[in-house]
Amino acid sequence: MDNDRIDQIIEKHHGEPSSLIQVLLEIQSENHWLPKAALERVGEKLKVPYTRIQHIATFYKAFSLVPKGRHGIHICMGTACHVRGAGRILDAVQDRTGIKPGETDLDLKFSLETVNCLGCCALGPVMEVDGKAHGKMTPSQSAEVLKTYE
Protein backbone atom coordinates (compact mmCIF):
# COMPACT_ATOMS: atom_id res chain seq x y z
CA MET A 1 0.00 0.00 0.00
CA ASP A 2 1.54 3.30 -1.02
CA ASN A 3 1.92 6.39 1.11
CA ASP A 4 -0.39 8.46 -1.08
CA ARG A 5 -3.32 6.19 -0.39
CA ILE A 6 -2.56 6.24 3.34
CA ASP A 7 -2.39 10.03 3.24
CA GLN A 8 -5.77 10.12 1.48
CA ILE A 9 -7.33 8.01 4.21
CA ILE A 10 -5.81 10.19 6.91
CA GLU A 11 -7.03 13.30 5.06
CA LYS A 12 -10.54 11.88 5.05
CA HIS A 13 -10.43 11.84 8.83
CA HIS A 14 -8.95 15.37 8.99
CA GLY A 15 -5.76 14.06 10.58
CA GLU A 16 -7.46 13.75 13.97
CA PRO A 17 -5.48 11.63 16.42
CA SER A 18 -8.80 10.39 17.79
CA SER A 19 -9.59 8.84 14.40
CA LEU A 20 -6.65 6.46 14.71
CA ILE A 21 -8.76 3.32 14.91
CA GLN A 22 -10.93 4.38 11.94
CA VAL A 23 -7.81 5.05 9.86
CA LEU A 24 -6.31 1.70 10.81
CA LEU A 25 -9.59 -0.07 10.03
CA GLU A 26 -9.68 1.46 6.57
CA ILE A 27 -6.11 0.48 5.82
CA GLN A 28 -6.85 -2.99 7.14
CA SER A 29 -9.92 -3.42 4.93
CA GLU A 30 -8.14 -2.25 1.78
CA ASN A 31 -4.81 -3.89 2.34
CA HIS A 32 -5.94 -6.90 4.46
CA TRP A 33 -3.10 -6.23 6.89
CA LEU A 34 -1.12 -3.43 8.50
CA PRO A 35 2.50 -3.24 7.34
CA LYS A 36 4.96 -1.57 9.69
CA ALA A 37 5.69 1.18 7.20
CA ALA A 38 1.99 2.06 7.07
CA LEU A 39 1.76 2.22 10.86
CA GLU A 40 4.79 4.47 11.02
CA ARG A 41 3.29 6.74 8.39
CA VAL A 42 0.01 6.94 10.30
CA GLY A 43 1.85 7.69 13.53
CA GLU A 44 3.83 10.48 11.92
CA LYS A 45 0.78 12.07 10.30
CA LEU A 46 -1.59 11.77 13.26
CA LYS A 47 1.11 12.58 15.79
CA VAL A 48 0.41 9.43 17.75
CA PRO A 49 3.38 7.64 19.33
CA TYR A 50 4.25 4.31 17.77
CA THR A 51 3.83 2.50 21.11
CA ARG A 52 0.17 3.49 21.20
CA ILE A 53 -0.42 2.40 17.61
CA GLN A 54 1.26 -0.89 18.33
CA HIS A 55 -0.82 -1.35 21.48
CA ILE A 56 -4.06 -0.73 19.58
CA ALA A 57 -3.07 -2.75 16.51
CA THR A 58 -2.23 -5.75 18.69
CA PHE A 59 -5.22 -5.28 21.00
CA TYR A 60 -8.04 -5.64 18.49
CA LYS A 61 -8.52 -8.86 16.62
CA ALA A 62 -9.75 -6.92 13.58
CA PHE A 63 -6.17 -5.83 12.88
CA SER A 64 -3.48 -8.04 11.48
CA LEU A 65 0.23 -7.27 11.56
CA VAL A 66 1.05 -10.15 9.24
CA PRO A 67 -0.04 -10.52 5.60
CA LYS A 68 -3.46 -12.06 5.08
CA GLY A 69 -4.71 -14.07 2.13
CA ARG A 70 -7.06 -12.71 -0.54
CA HIS A 71 -9.91 -14.75 0.91
CA GLY A 72 -10.70 -15.00 4.59
CA ILE A 73 -12.24 -18.27 5.72
CA HIS A 74 -14.10 -18.27 9.02
CA ILE A 75 -15.24 -21.59 10.39
CA CYS A 76 -17.81 -21.44 13.13
CA MET A 77 -16.95 -23.45 16.22
CA GLY A 78 -19.99 -22.31 18.22
CA THR A 79 -22.03 -24.82 20.16
CA ALA A 80 -24.62 -25.46 17.44
CA CYS A 81 -22.05 -25.82 14.67
CA HIS A 82 -19.81 -27.86 16.94
CA VAL A 83 -22.43 -30.51 17.65
CA ARG A 84 -23.24 -30.67 13.95
CA GLY A 85 -19.66 -31.49 13.04
CA ALA A 86 -17.76 -28.20 12.66
CA GLY A 87 -14.62 -30.05 13.74
CA ARG A 88 -14.79 -32.25 10.65
CA ILE A 89 -15.37 -29.21 8.41
CA LEU A 90 -12.30 -27.59 9.94
CA ASP A 91 -10.25 -30.75 9.33
CA ALA A 92 -11.40 -30.87 5.71
CA VAL A 93 -10.55 -27.19 5.15
CA GLN A 94 -7.18 -27.61 6.82
CA ASP A 95 -6.41 -30.56 4.55
CA ARG A 96 -7.57 -28.69 1.49
CA THR A 97 -5.70 -25.45 2.19
CA GLY A 98 -2.76 -26.85 4.10
CA ILE A 99 -3.04 -24.21 6.83
CA LYS A 100 -4.17 -24.19 10.45
CA PRO A 101 -6.41 -21.57 12.10
CA GLY A 102 -4.60 -18.24 12.32
CA GLU A 103 -2.37 -19.03 9.36
CA THR A 104 -2.14 -17.86 5.75
CA ASP A 105 -0.91 -19.97 2.86
CA LEU A 106 2.22 -19.14 0.90
CA ASP A 107 0.33 -17.94 -2.22
CA LEU A 108 -1.64 -15.51 -0.02
CA LYS A 109 -4.81 -17.16 -1.28
CA PHE A 110 -6.55 -18.14 1.96
CA SER A 111 -6.39 -17.14 5.60
CA LEU A 112 -8.11 -19.47 8.03
CA GLU A 113 -9.73 -18.49 11.31
CA THR A 114 -12.11 -20.15 13.70
CA VAL A 115 -14.88 -18.06 15.24
CA ASN A 116 -17.25 -18.76 18.08
CA CYS A 117 -20.56 -17.86 16.48
CA LEU A 118 -21.61 -16.33 13.20
CA GLY A 119 -25.16 -15.73 14.34
CA CYS A 120 -26.87 -18.21 12.01
CA CYS A 121 -26.91 -21.33 14.14
CA ALA A 122 -29.82 -22.84 12.20
CA LEU A 123 -27.49 -23.17 9.21
CA GLY A 124 -24.80 -25.03 11.14
CA PRO A 125 -22.17 -26.06 10.52
CA VAL A 126 -21.32 -22.75 8.91
CA MET A 127 -18.26 -21.76 6.92
CA GLU A 128 -17.90 -18.13 5.92
CA VAL A 129 -15.68 -17.09 3.03
CA ASP A 130 -15.13 -13.36 2.45
CA GLY A 131 -18.23 -12.59 4.50
CA LYS A 132 -20.49 -14.96 2.56
CA ALA A 133 -21.97 -17.68 4.73
CA HIS A 134 -22.06 -21.24 3.45
CA GLY A 135 -24.46 -23.21 5.60
CA LYS A 136 -25.18 -26.89 6.28
CA MET A 137 -21.66 -27.82 5.22
CA THR A 138 -20.27 -31.28 4.82
CA PRO A 139 -16.53 -31.89 4.56
CA SER A 140 -16.77 -32.62 0.83
CA GLN A 141 -19.03 -29.61 0.17
CA SER A 142 -16.59 -27.32 1.96
CA ALA A 143 -13.81 -28.46 -0.36
CA GLU A 144 -16.10 -27.77 -3.34
CA VAL A 145 -16.84 -24.28 -2.08
CA LEU A 146 -13.15 -23.49 -1.71
CA LYS A 147 -12.52 -24.60 -5.31
CA THR A 148 -14.67 -21.70 -6.55
CA TYR A 149 -12.27 -19.13 -5.07
CA GLU A 150 -9.22 -18.04 -6.95
Partner: protein
Protein backbone atom coordinates in the same frame (compact mmCIF):
# COMPACT_ATOMS: atom_id res chain seq x y z
CA UNK B 1 -11.02 24.98 45.63
CA UNK B 2 -13.33 24.08 48.46
CA UNK B 3 -12.28 21.79 51.24
CA UNK B 4 -13.91 18.42 51.56
CA UNK B 5 -14.33 16.72 54.91
CA UNK B 6 -14.12 12.99 55.14
CA UNK B 7 -13.09 10.32 57.57
CA UNK B 8 -10.30 7.85 56.94
CA UNK B 9 -9.70 5.09 59.48
CA UNK B 10 -11.56 7.08 62.13
CA UNK B 11 -9.46 10.20 61.53
CA UNK B 12 -11.09 13.36 60.21
CA UNK B 13 -9.30 14.35 57.01
CA UNK B 14 -9.52 17.48 54.90
CA UNK B 15 -9.01 17.25 51.18
CA UNK B 16 -9.23 19.47 48.15
CA UNK B 17 -11.79 18.82 45.47
CA UNK B 18 -10.47 16.65 42.68
CA UNK B 19 -8.00 14.81 44.87
CA UNK B 20 -8.09 11.06 44.95
CA UNK B 21 -8.71 9.09 48.12
CA UNK B 22 -5.15 7.83 47.99
CA UNK B 23 -3.74 11.36 47.91
CA UNK B 24 -5.99 12.41 50.78
CA UNK B 25 -4.90 9.42 52.85
CA UNK B 26 -1.23 9.98 52.12
CA UNK B 27 -1.63 13.63 53.04
CA UNK B 28 -3.01 12.56 56.41
CA UNK B 29 -0.14 10.14 56.94
CA UNK B 30 -2.24 7.02 56.38
CA UNK B 31 -0.39 4.42 54.35
CA UNK B 32 -2.18 2.50 51.60
CA UNK B 33 -0.14 -0.11 49.73
CA UNK B 34 0.28 0.54 46.01
CA UNK B 35 2.21 -0.95 43.12
CA UNK B 36 1.15 1.01 40.07
CA UNK B 37 0.97 4.44 41.71
CA UNK B 38 3.60 7.09 41.04
CA UNK B 39 3.21 10.69 42.08
CA UNK B 40 4.44 12.07 38.76
CA UNK B 41 2.04 9.95 36.73
CA UNK B 42 -1.66 9.96 36.04
CA UNK B 43 -3.63 7.50 38.17
CA UNK B 44 -3.78 4.12 36.46
CA UNK B 45 -5.81 1.79 38.67
CA UNK B 46 -3.91 -1.20 37.39
CA UNK B 47 -2.77 -3.18 40.39
CA UNK B 48 -5.95 -2.83 42.51
CA UNK B 49 -3.88 -3.17 45.66
CA UNK B 50 -4.97 0.22 47.00
CA UNK B 51 -8.54 -1.03 47.31
CA UNK B 52 -10.44 0.43 50.29
CA UNK B 53 -13.92 0.31 51.77
CA UNK B 54 -16.02 3.43 51.38
CA UNK B 55 -19.14 3.99 53.46
CA UNK B 56 -21.58 6.55 52.16
CA UNK B 57 -25.12 7.05 53.43
CA UNK B 58 -25.03 3.69 55.17
CA UNK B 59 -23.83 1.75 52.14
CA UNK B 60 -20.37 0.27 51.89
CA UNK B 61 -18.63 -0.38 48.64
CA UNK B 62 -15.16 -1.33 47.56
CA UNK B 63 -13.26 1.22 45.52
CA UNK B 64 -9.75 1.58 44.18
CA UNK B 65 -8.46 4.57 46.11
CA UNK B 66 -5.90 5.76 43.52
CA UNK B 67 -8.65 6.59 41.01
CA UNK B 68 -11.56 7.38 43.36
CA UNK B 69 -12.14 11.11 43.88
CA UNK B 70 -12.77 12.32 47.43
CA UNK B 71 -16.36 13.06 48.39
CA UNK B 72 -17.94 14.96 51.24
CA UNK B 73 -18.81 12.97 54.37
CA UNK B 74 -17.64 9.55 53.31
CA UNK B 75 -16.16 7.12 55.80
CA UNK B 76 -13.15 5.22 54.48
CA UNK B 77 -11.57 2.12 55.94
CA UNK B 78 -8.16 1.25 54.57
CA UNK B 79 -7.74 -1.91 56.65
CA UNK B 80 -10.44 -4.40 57.48
CA UNK B 81 -10.76 -8.14 57.38
CA UNK B 82 -12.36 -7.94 53.96
CA UNK B 83 -9.77 -5.54 52.52
CA UNK B 84 -6.89 -7.59 53.87
CA UNK B 85 -8.37 -10.74 52.36
CA UNK B 86 -8.72 -9.09 48.94
CA UNK B 87 -5.18 -7.69 49.06
CA UNK B 88 -3.87 -11.08 50.08
CA UNK B 89 -5.51 -12.71 47.04
CA UNK B 90 -4.26 -9.97 44.69
CA UNK B 91 -0.73 -10.50 46.01
CA UNK B 92 -1.00 -14.25 45.62
CA UNK B 93 -2.15 -13.84 42.03
CA UNK B 94 0.66 -11.40 41.25
CA UNK B 95 3.16 -13.74 42.86
CA UNK B 96 2.18 -16.48 40.44
CA UNK B 97 3.80 -14.20 37.87
CA UNK B 98 6.64 -12.67 39.84
CA UNK B 99 7.36 -14.87 42.87
CA UNK B 100 10.72 -13.31 43.68
CA UNK B 101 9.88 -9.62 43.49
CA UNK B 102 11.18 -7.97 46.69
CA UNK B 103 8.25 -5.53 46.80
CA UNK B 104 5.75 -8.35 46.56
CA UNK B 105 7.58 -10.46 49.14
CA UNK B 106 7.45 -7.59 51.65
CA UNK B 107 3.76 -6.99 51.06
CA UNK B 108 3.06 -10.71 51.19
CA UNK B 109 4.58 -10.86 54.65
CA UNK B 110 2.34 -8.09 55.87
CA UNK B 111 -0.85 -9.60 54.42
CA UNK B 112 0.03 -13.23 55.00
CA UNK B 113 -0.06 -14.08 51.31
CA UNK B 114 1.20 -17.50 50.25
CA UNK B 115 3.39 -17.14 47.18
CA UNK B 116 2.76 -20.75 46.22
CA UNK B 117 -1.02 -20.62 46.36
CA UNK B 118 -1.46 -20.45 42.60
CA UNK B 119 0.41 -22.39 40.00
CA UNK B 120 3.42 -20.37 38.85
CA UNK B 121 3.31 -18.79 35.47
CA UNK B 122 6.48 -16.81 35.59
CA UNK B 123 5.86 -13.96 33.16
CA UNK B 124 7.63 -11.64 35.66
CA UNK B 125 5.71 -8.59 34.46
CA UNK B 126 2.76 -7.61 36.66
CA UNK B 127 1.45 -4.97 34.23
CA UNK B 128 1.77 -2.06 36.64
CA UNK B 129 2.51 0.08 33.60
CA UNK B 130 5.04 2.24 35.47
CA UNK B 131 7.70 1.97 32.77
CA UNK B 132 5.23 2.51 29.93
CA UNK B 133 3.60 5.51 31.59
CA UNK B 134 6.83 7.04 32.86
CA UNK B 135 8.37 6.90 29.40
CA UNK B 136 5.25 8.39 27.83
CA UNK B 137 4.21 10.97 30.41
CA UNK B 138 7.46 12.17 31.97
CA UNK B 139 10.12 11.52 29.35
CA UNK B 140 7.73 11.70 26.37
CA UNK B 141 9.90 9.24 24.47
CA UNK B 142 7.42 6.39 24.08
CA UNK B 143 10.22 3.85 23.90
CA UNK B 144 8.30 1.12 25.67
CA UNK B 145 4.66 0.16 25.34
CA UNK B 146 2.15 -2.58 25.92
CA UNK B 147 1.31 -5.08 23.21
CA UNK B 148 -1.51 -7.59 22.92
CA UNK B 149 -4.13 -8.02 25.60
CA UNK B 150 -5.46 -10.21 28.35
CA UNK B 151 -3.21 -13.09 29.32
CA UNK B 152 -0.88 -12.36 26.41
CA UNK B 153 -0.33 -8.69 27.28
CA UNK B 154 3.31 -7.76 27.71
CA UNK B 155 5.64 -4.80 27.56
CA UNK B 156 7.67 -4.25 24.44
CA UNK B 157 10.45 -1.81 23.60
CA UNK B 158 10.44 -0.13 20.21
CA UNK B 159 13.97 -1.03 19.10
CA UNK B 160 14.44 2.08 16.92
CA UNK B 161 13.60 4.44 19.78
CA UNK B 162 15.20 2.36 22.53
CA UNK B 163 18.52 2.24 20.67
CA UNK B 164 18.66 6.03 20.61
CA UNK B 165 17.12 7.05 23.92
CA UNK B 166 17.38 4.36 26.55
CA UNK B 167 21.11 4.06 27.17
CA UNK B 168 21.33 7.61 28.48
CA UNK B 169 18.10 7.49 30.51
CA UNK B 170 17.08 4.19 32.11
CA UNK B 171 15.01 6.17 34.63
CA UNK B 172 12.26 3.57 34.42
CA UNK B 173 14.56 0.79 35.64
CA UNK B 174 14.27 1.50 39.38
CA UNK B 175 10.50 1.85 39.05
CA UNK B 176 9.95 -1.75 38.00
CA UNK B 177 8.74 -3.84 40.93
CA UNK B 178 9.96 -7.10 39.42
CA UNK B 179 13.10 -6.35 37.34
CA UNK B 180 11.37 -7.75 34.29
CA UNK B 181 11.77 -4.41 32.56
CA UNK B 182 15.55 -4.62 32.72
CA UNK B 183 15.41 -8.13 31.30
CA UNK B 184 13.11 -7.01 28.48
CA UNK B 185 15.47 -4.15 27.68
CA UNK B 186 18.53 -6.37 27.58
CA UNK B 187 16.68 -8.85 25.38
CA UNK B 188 15.52 -6.14 22.96
CA UNK B 189 19.00 -4.66 22.93
CA UNK B 190 20.81 -7.88 22.23
CA UNK B 191 18.35 -8.77 19.44
CA UNK B 192 18.13 -5.39 17.74
CA UNK B 193 21.05 -3.19 18.69
CA UNK B 194 23.76 -5.35 20.22
CA UNK B 195 26.44 -3.43 22.09
CA UNK B 196 29.75 -3.30 20.23
CA UNK B 197 31.71 -6.45 20.87
CA UNK B 198 34.53 -5.95 23.37
CA UNK B 199 37.83 -5.46 21.60
CA UNK B 200 40.07 -8.51 21.74
CA UNK B 201 43.05 -7.89 23.99
CA UNK B 202 45.75 -6.35 21.87
CA UNK B 203 48.75 -8.50 21.33
CA UNK B 204 51.87 -6.91 22.64
Amino acid sequence: MSDIQLEIDGKPVQAKEGMTLLEAAQGAGIAIPTLCHHEKLEPFGGCRLCIVEVEERGWTKLVVSCVFPVKENIVVRTRSEKIDRIRKTILELLMAHAPDSPVLIDLAKEYGADRNRFEKEASFCIHCGLCVRYCAEVKKKHAVGFVDRGIRKEISFIPEIAAKECDSCKECFPLCPTSYLQAAFVLTGSLSFPPPAPKPPSEE
